[in-house]
């Protein structure tokens, strides 16, 4: 390491590394961030594709899919009409073992019940673990932490690289699952045993095992990531970057890292037990062998509830960031925002039972969990009010990131409010395991996290790729998505109120659900629109990456430190480590000429008579 001293202030030299080190096994946090982004976007298309099949089945139960299904003529007369007809004809003449992948899962183009179960299981698993987590935590955690706290890279760059590649291994394992005999996991993302614990109940053998292995690997990846994030934030902040000067994005990622670090090992332990049950003949979750099916639910939700906050907290941080920038105004109640997130992180550990009100858990515990759940809604309310406070009296610019951030706030409000119904135990008796829950999930995870992701990508795109993201396409994408999102998910509340169970492949099998056929078709049409609209986004991202307008260093005139770095930031980020003089949200501060004040600026803010800044 003799060159170390010489290199110390010219980190840019490291940029000239081979292709493999620059693009594949990179240890540069920005490249790793882009890798996570790519992983997330690819998986987003897969997860979205799966759910299109699922929505078809719900609107037109047991009807052959368009394009690949058999034709009506063939169904009625047995005459092959289209090329697909001939294909199905040929498949059905074969013994089952030799039939194609598609024929065993969607015979004649009709989604089989088991494949339906696989579809929603993998949709949720992929969206939660391979889209939202890689993008919000993996990509933006990596990209923003070093840049926003003013340092050159993560504390442990090699660990960082490993974290990504372990996530890839996990992703590959989950993909392999689609091709093993018996099909992929089909027990929901919650994988309740005994259903998931014994292949006899589902016919799924290696699919479920691979699902477990994949999530164990993902847990390892997340652990490496979160250790890195926490250490970096505690130890690597630029001089002057005190905790109370950290951007809320960094606060949220910091808290998320702690949640992940402590929650995922619990899932890992549960997954290990599940694998033992499946492969070593134990009976952790098998009552006849002395086990307890509820044990899984306790462990899973002990992880699961912190996990859902892992999905939303970064979006909250990012939303706050963007709201403040485009209101040209300090965030309202910075400290309250921080304390709200901290209390979410604390309370998040004692509310898991609200997923188990009807599970057979002692009903007295249900009451306790109801109270803690009500309490945890408070910090979310506080944050919402502060977001409104931030808009109040601002000078609001409706840029694409701002539109997405505003959508995030308003959709999160709906998701949070619907949570209150389910938190009230008597009401939950009726709406538990109905589409009401599905509506809630999607208002928080799509309306919250995914709009947060759109906001983040459109906001930091210039810094990441050095080019502006096309704003016309951005707006088109936003408005279609916003409308189609609400048309897709709002009616699900109505389905839930009507008692429509979740995870059923064919609502028309029930007398009392006949009336919802039309609504289901409407939802499906909206969902298709919603899915198509995402192609605009994907196109916009990749097109702008190469063809977009060149970006300036600070296109939004924002305060945080990443905007002082070159665009895109070189290896090592800053020519010189910055010194921090201000909080992150000093917009339109008195005594400052510009309407923004970079954290690195040495200008001082005029104080008013009250001594307040």
């Amino acid at each position: 390491m003799s060159e170390a001293a010489a290199v110390k202030d010219t980190p840019i030299e490291h940029a000239h590394q081979g292709f493999l080190k620059t693009y594949i096994f990179s240890t540069d946090h920005k490249m790793i961030a882009k890798q996570f982004l790519l992983l997330g976007l690819v998986m987003l298309m897969l997860g979205g594709g799966l759910v299109m099949l699922l929505r078809w089945q719900l609107a037109y139960p047991d009807k052959p899919l368009p394009l690949i299904g058999i034709s009506e003529t063939y169904m009625e007369t047995g005459e092959t009409e289209t090329a697909m007809d001939r294909y199905w004809d040929e498949q059905f003449s074969k013994p089952e073992k030799e039939q194609s992948w598609i024929a065993t899962r969607m015979p004649a183009g009709v989604i089989s019940p088991n494949f339906y179960n696989t579809l929603f299981t993998m949709h949720a698993t992929i969206m939660i673990f391979f889209v939202v987590m890689p993008i919000l935590v993996g990509c933006f955690g990596n990209f923003l932490i070093p840049l926003m706290i003013g340092t050159r890279d993560m504390a442990f760059p090699v660990l960082n690289m490993l974290s990504f590649w372990v996530a890839v291994v996990s992703g590959v394992i989950i993909l392999i699952g689609f091709f093993v005999p018996g099909g992929h996991a089909a027990t929901g993302w919650t994988a309740y045993p005994p259903l998931s614990a014994d292949p006899t109940w589902t016919g799924v053998d290696w699919g479920q095992n691979l699902w477990c292995f994949s999530l164990i690997f993902l847990g390892i990846s997340s652990m490496m990531g979160s250790i890195n994030y926490i250490t970096t934030i505690i130890n690597m902040r630029a001089p002057g970057m005190t905790f109370m000067r950290l951007p809320l994005t960094i606060w949220s990622l910091f808290i998320v890292a702690i949640l992940l670090l402590l929650a995922l090992p619990v899932l890992t332990s549960a997954l290990a037990m599940l694998l033992f049950d499946r492969m070593a003949g134990t009976s952790f979750f098998n009552a006849s062998g002395g086990g307890d099916p509820l044990l899984w639910q306790h462990l899973f939700w002990f992880f699961g509830h912190p996990e859902v906050y892992v999905l939303i907290l970064p979006a909250m941080g990012i939303g706050s960031e963007i709201l403040s920038v485009f209101s040209r105004k300090p965030i309202f109640g910075y400290h309250a925002m921080v304390y709200a997130m901290v209390s979410i992180a604390g309370l998040g550990w004692i509310v898991w039972g609200h997923h188990m009100f009807q599970s057979g858990m002692n009903p007295a515990l249900g009451t306790t969990f109801m109270i803690s759940t009500m309490v945890i809604a408070v910090p979310s309310a506080i944050k919402t009010f502060n977001w409104l406070g931030t808009l109040w009296g601002g000078n609001i610019q409706f840029t694409v990131p701002m539109l997405n951030a505003l959508a995030f706030v308003s959709m999160f409000v709906i998701g949070g409010l619907s949570g209150i119904y389910m938190a009230s135990t008597p009401v939950d008796i009726f709406i538990h395991d109905t589409y009401y829950i599905v509506a809630h999930i999607h208002y928080v995870v799509f309306g919250g996290s995914l709009f947060g992701i759109f906001a983040a990508i459109t906001f930091w795109f210039p810094k990441m790729f050095g080019r502006m993201l096309g704003s016309k396409l951005g707006k088109i994408h936003f408005w279609i998505t916003f409308a189609a999102f609400n048309c897709t998910f709002f009616p699900m509340h109505i389905l839930g109120v009507g008692g429509h169970m979740r995870r059923i492949a064919n609502p028309l099998q029930y007398e009392f659900l006949q009336q919802f056929e039309g609504l289901n078709i409407f939802i499906t049409m909206s969902a298709f629109t919603l899915g198509m609209a995402q192609l605009i986004f994907i196109f916009n991202v990749f097109y702008s990456m190469f063809k977009g307008k060149k970006a300036e260093d600070n296109p939004w005139k924002a305060n945080t430190v990443e905007w002082t770095a070159a665009t895109p930031p070189p290896h090592g980020n800053f020519a010189e480590i910055p010194t921090i003089y201000h909080g992150p949200y000093e917009y339109n501060a008195p005594g400052i000429d510009e309407d923004y004040l970079p954290q690195t600026s040495q200008a001082t803010i005029a104080t008013d008579g009250n001594g307040k800044q």
């Binding site: 390491m1 060159e3 170390a4 001293a5 290199v7 110390k8 202030d9 980190p11 490291h14 240890t27 070093p146 003013g150 340092t151 050159r152 890279d153 504390a155 442990f156 760059p157 090699v158 660990l159 652990m223 490496m224 250790i227 926490i230 250490t231 505690i234 130890n235 690597m236 902040r237 630029a238 970057m241 670090l261 402590l262 929650a263 995922l264 090992p265 619990v266 899932l267 890992t268 332990s269 549960a270 290990a272 037990m273 033992f276 070593a280 003949g281 134990t282 009976s283 952790f284 062998g289 002395g290 086990g291 307890d292 509820l294 044990l295 306790h298 462990l299 002990f302 090592g572 480590i577």
Partner: protein, 228 residues
Amino acid sequence: MAKPAEEKADNLTIEKDVGQGLPPILDDDSFGNGNRSNGGDSDRPINSAVLAMLLFIGAEVMFFAGIIGAFIVLRFGANDWPPPGQPRLPVVVTGINTAILLLSGLTMFKTKRLLKDWHREKILHGLTITALLGALFLAVQGFEWTRLLGFGFTLSSNIYGTVFYTLIGCHALHVLGAVIWLTIVASRLRMNSPAYSANNHVGIKLSGMYWYLVVALWPVLYGLVYFN
């Protein structure tokens, strides 16, 4: 770990030293000294590698909390514990074994106290003894296990066997990992590796921290599993 004031002025070199001898994934040196020293509060409260190790231990504790939680749910959910007709667990032998492991914690404690003044020989000695005690613990455990297996008491024979082998087995795996780690550290030290020196021994410290984890977990598991 607060840095003495006089070191601050020259924290480049200090930090540099501290980073060596670490497992490669905890090496934070991709920028020479640039990253580690320039970034960060000048009075960083804790060494990065030590902090990372603490966090990792936190995650491990949560993993054990998961399986201990499972044990508690299953044990107190069962009507008879232990289920009738099960071999008695070797409480006494394991009690002695517990003493062995606790002793190794003590030797590790003494060894870590030697780090500051860098008595290399004594440290090597201490590490070796600790690792040997750990290995002895594992050997006794293994011996008891073969006896239990001889009685037909296996992982899948019933829920009693399941929780026993899971908890104790997970712990044994961790001890095994810790012994291997100590062995590597000790042999590097023996070979006079430049990785460790008087003002640079975080690598040793980390292995010691991990050792404390496996030692501290054991009495809890012993108390829970062996006493009904």
